[in-house]
């Protein structure tokens, strides 16, 4: 690329890297019981919770980029979307690895039984599978190669986000206040897009 990146973009990128790695760094420190930190009485559950929620947070953040870009006109924001998305994928993979390794000890029969029999795990696993093509096609080269289809493939993120919130909701025992909040935010983020599409369609019809 011939165009040089503005300085503020570099600064913000470094900050985003730091913010995205911070939860992971904190987990490592807690796991090592550094300076009296700890993962608590049920460390595996804590890892599952933190990784799962951080993954979901980052996916929802990627969905914030476009509405903010449209309303503020700061088009550069788009260059943070991939970073947030890939970090989201990283935490989702950590979440799944914790489940398969630390929780189930690679008992694959148990894993497959869970995926087949437990709807919340079926949904979560589907979301993970759908994230793989998105991560794999996230490079500039793939973006160029796929052209229009790249946008189509990456619309899967809407499905993934819905599956992620459902996965969260279905595993909660009783207190649904947190998944409810996620569902609300996701509804707003998807609603903004529907509203935008509807506006474009009306504009096209009136011309």
């Amino acid at each position: 690329m011939a165009v040089t990146t503005p300085r503020w973009v570099v600064t913000v990128k470094v900050a985003v890297w730091g913010a995205c790695l911070a939860p992971f760094a904190l987990l490592v420190l807690r796991a090592l019981e550094f300076h009296g930190l700890s993962l608590g009485a049920d460390p595996v559950q804590e890892l599952l919770n933190v990784c799962g929620k951080t993954g979901l947070n980052l996916l929802l953040l990627t969905l914030c980029i476009t509405p903010i870009r449209r309303s503020t006109g700061i088009n550069r924001l788009i260059s943070f979307r991939r970073l947030l998305g890939l970090f989201g994928f990283f935490y989702v993979v950590l979440h799944f690895t914790t489940y398969v390794w630390l929780d189930l000890g690679f008992a694959w029969d148990h894993v497959f039984e869970d995926i087949a029999k437990r709807p919340y795990i079926t949904v979560g696993f589907t979301a993970l599978l759908l994230l793989i093509p998105l991560a794999a096609t996230s490079t500039n080269r793939m973006q160029r190669q796929l052209g229009r289809n790249w946008v189509r493939v990456h619309r899967l993120v809407y499905v993934i986000a819905v599956l992620g919130v459902v996965h969260f909701w279905w595993q909660v025992k009783r207190d649904i206040s947190e998944p409810l909040l996620y569902a609300f935010l996701l509804t707003v983020l998807l609603g903004v897009r529907l509203h935008h599409a509807w506006k474009l369609r009306r504009k096209a019809a009136s011309q």
């Binding site: 796991a31 993962l39 608590g40 009485a41 049920d42 460390p43 595996v44 559950q45 890892l47 630390l102 929780d103 189930l104 000890g105 008992a107 148990h110 039984e113 869970d114 437990r118 709807p119 919340y120 279905w170 595993q171 025992k173 009783r174 207190d175 206040s177």
Partner: protein, 319 residues
Amino acid sequence: MRKKPDTRIKPSEITPEGAFLNRRALLKAAVAAGLVPGIMSASEAATIPAGGEFDPKPTKWPGSVTDKPNSLEDISTYNNYYEFGAAKGDPAANAHTLKTKPWSIQVSGEAAKTGTFTLEDILAPHALEERVYRLRCVEAWSMVIPWVGFPLADLLKRFEPTSQAKFVQFLTLADRNQMPGIRYPILEWPYREGLTIEEATHPLTLVVVGVYGKVLPNQNGAPIRIVVPWKYGFKSAKSIVRIHFTDKRPLTSWNMSAPQEYGFYSNVNPKVDHPRWSQASERKLGGGLLAGRAPTLMFNGYADQVASLYTGLDLAKNF
């Protein structure tokens, strides 16, 4: 309990052999039986000690499991006690507002001796013992806990339940001034649990007032709770303010909120899954990140003692 003295010795009041050598316990039993009225001051009876440690020291119950108990830190910071918040750390953070003194329990229903009894009256005649039990949560994790208490059967007998007392219901305090979680309608408040009279009077079912030789932390259900070690943890009601004897199966909070997921019995059973997750194995807490899972045992490992309570009962249907 201080009703008219009854000089007959009921089976429940016969001092167990282990406590026989303990003069104080013997005296307490004698007071309870009305044999030695008024010679002991309240401070000498089994009470909740102000200093935290029980005196005399609880005797060690020979039936304890030999697994290494979890740390008091784990036991008192990882709790499900929704009256103080739904997150595991909420009870430890919020339960300091619970006022455990004065405390009384209302006894009602199918029993000869009903009414309101102070905690001191409830505890006075009983000798405390330390019992190390496994605790299996319905969420598929487990701990090993050295409880301090005495058999619930010994307490219930004192109320002389009638032949109509087929079930016992336990109600937890529900005071929104002391319990911030009561504001949220997550469960039916007050929290209620229930057992069949056979389960309630089973020798394993424990009235608990302490853990690790000390007074129960508020977040663990102070000042008085029960522990039913072969059932999922939520069956063991905390901070009990009412005991109700009834001929009908009592309503229970978790069953009311999700009947397809939480049955009345809720016995630990590796063969009957929770509709959303497997109950075949559990995370034994305290072993660190790499401890892995262990198979869950039928009736949480207490099958020899309790399986006979359920002969002929389809445990998949009566989960």
